[in-house]
């Protein structure tokens, strides 16, 4: 079974600065998908960024980018120019390349990010 580990329960960043959120995972599969989701206090889970394991290039979405290290099974999220609206819980998630129950999202425990004005 796949597992996702987010070992930092909380992080804080100054507005306009850069922060990196860590995530490691364990799998025996060679192809898979990795995600970072944001869950603000309003509770609605929002997809921030996704990475396909077969792609060597790290995904980027505006101020959000990832550092995907497949051999190390590491998938960190970098948030540049942090904004107050970035304050939320962030979840790292894994998804197998199969259908049915195997295509479920497996989430880490999450990290609470606070942004200081």
């Amino acid at each position: 079974a796949q597992t996702v580990t987010q070992s930092q329960p909380e992080m804080s960043v100054q507005e306009a600065e850069t922060v990196t959120l860590s995530c490691t995972y364990d799998t025996s599969e060679s192809d898979y998908y990795l995600f970072w989701y944001k869950q603000p206090p309003s509770r609605q889970m929002i997809l921030v960024i996704r990475q396909e394991a077969y792609k060597q290039q790290n995904a980027t979405e505006n101020r959000f980018s990832v550092n995907f290290q497949k051999a190390a099974k590491s998938f960190s999220l970098k948030i540049s120019d942090s904004q107050l609206g970035d304050a939320a819980m962030y979840f790292c998630a894994y998804r197998s390349p199969f259908t049915g129950a195997n295509s479920k999202l497996t989430f880490g425990k999450g990290i609470t990010l606070s942004v200081r004005p």
Binding site: V4, R43, L47
Partner: protein, 114 residues
């Protein structure tokens, strides 16, 4: 366009009772998944439905059941509620099943079992 909607927003039940949670997917989406998120934890997969058939089930007891209707909306039922069932229940919809289809989450139903 409306996103995924869930009802009710909050619910308080007592142990042993039954509860039904409802989810309406984004228009055109045929797959619905249910997740349980206990406070301070990441969501855990409960069920996936696609084209009105159960396509996947997580490690939850038989007290949990679900179904998907012809309009692709879905219900999650939990019988004989336990204190440990207190959680945020999230519904996610996608166009089709399969990992390449992005899952869009609803706001969740907060269930409290007393």
């Amino acid at each position: 366009d409306a996103g995924v909607t869930q009802s009710p927003t909050h619910l308080i039940k007592t142990r042993g009772q039954h509860v039904t949670l409802r989810c309406s997917p984004i228009s055109g989406h045929k797959s619905v998944s249910w997740y349980q998120q206990v406070l301070g934890q990441g969501p855990q997969f409960i069920f996936q439905y696609y084209e009105k058939e159960e396509r996947g089930r997580g490690n939850f007891p038989d007290r949990f059941s679900a179904r998907q209707f012809p309009n692709y909306s879905s219900e999650l039922n939990v019988n004989a509620l336990l204190l440990g069932d207190s959680a945020l229940y999230l519904c996610a919809s996608s166009l089709r099943q399969g990992p390449y289809n992005e899952q869009f989450f609803g706001p969740g139903t907060r269930l409290t079992v007393l």
